[in-house]
């Protein structure tokens, strides 16, 4: 049995396959546990991408200015 690649499954789930291809893929997914599992892995990929976007946002709004004072003359408060 020929399995679908992740890229092909991405095309399927984003509605970017032709009508015939979509029908074939849909039928195949019902019968093939390997491809069904691969399809589920795409959901895990989405979760990781969400986390990555969040991580990038996490650092985006930080103060831009860098310290300029001399380290040796900085007034210690403790």
């Amino acid at each position: 049995m020929k399995h679908y690649t992740k890229a092909e499954l991405e095309l399927y789930r984003h509605g970017e396959m032709g009508v015939l291809g979509r029908l074939q893929c849909s039928r195949h997914l019902r019968e093939c546990p390997t491809c069904a599992r691969r399809m589920k892995e795409l959901g895990d990929d989405d979760a990781l991408v969400g986390e990555l976007r969040e991580s990038l946002r996490f650092y985006r709004d930080l103060p831009a200015a860098e310290p300029r004072r001399s380290a040796s003359t900085r007034h210690r408060t403790s």
Partner: protein
């Protein structure tokens, strides 16, 4: 095909390599500032926190010479002693301790200016720190990923997944097929998971 040219700082920590001042500063500045913001430090206090933490890691050398903090000589380095435990825990303690000292100093100088209790550096905020560390780790992994895959692969992944331009738009921009964009995404995520796993091993 490997494009690796630069070892990440976390790998250096783990392997006991020398770490340069500038590299440490650029890598950990965001994490230190984020931690300071958790304690509601003011901009000047964040600046102070950053310098205190840098001094903690590079103290001996910094105290021995007088220079502007932006002109630290590249030979100024430190080596993390893995006997101190996990680097992330050590860093958390250092940053939290200094944040508390700054808060204490603020309270001592202006006792009537908001009387909120000081956080305990050893307790409480761990879940938040773990989340912040995870963000840091993912940012580091992304940086490393960029060096490990072909530029067009990274660009396809970055544009379609991180910047949310969509596969079609990315494909048209890069002159490749949408399937190739998805392949790039899949390849990058698989590699990224591997990098994250490697970085998580010890530090």
């Amino acid at each position: 095909m490997a494009y690796t040219t630069r070892k990440s700082l976390l790998r250096k920590v783990r392997e006991g390599d020398e770490i340069g001042w500038r590299e440490f500063y650029c890598t950990y500045r965001p994490l230190i500032l984020r931690r300071g913001m958790d304690f509601k430090l003011r901009p000047q206090e964040l600046d102070d926190l950053l310098q205190r933490v840098m001094e903690e890691f590079f103290q001996k050398e910094l105290l021995a010479v007088k220079f502007d903090i932006d002109n630290i000589p590249p030979e100024l380095t430190f080596r993390y002693d893995n006997g101190r435990g996990r680097f992330r825990d050590f860093l958390r303690r250092v940053v939290t301790n200094h944040a508390c000292k700054i808060l204490r100093a603020r309270r001592d100088q202006r006792p009537l200016d908001g009387d909120s209790p000081l956080p305990d550096p050893e307790a409480g905020e761990d879940a938040r720190w773990e989340q912040e560390w995870r963000c840091h780790l993912l940012n580091e992994a992304l940086r490393e990923l960029r060096n490990q895959v072909a530029p067009v692969t990274f660009q396809a992944f970055e544009m379609s997944s991180l910047k949310e331009h969509g596969a079609r738009e990315t494909a048209a921009f890069l002159g490749i097929s949408p399937a190739a964009v998805y392949t790039a995404r899949s390849r990058c995520l698989a590699r990224l998971r591997k990098i994250v796993k490697e970085l998580e091993v010890r530090p």
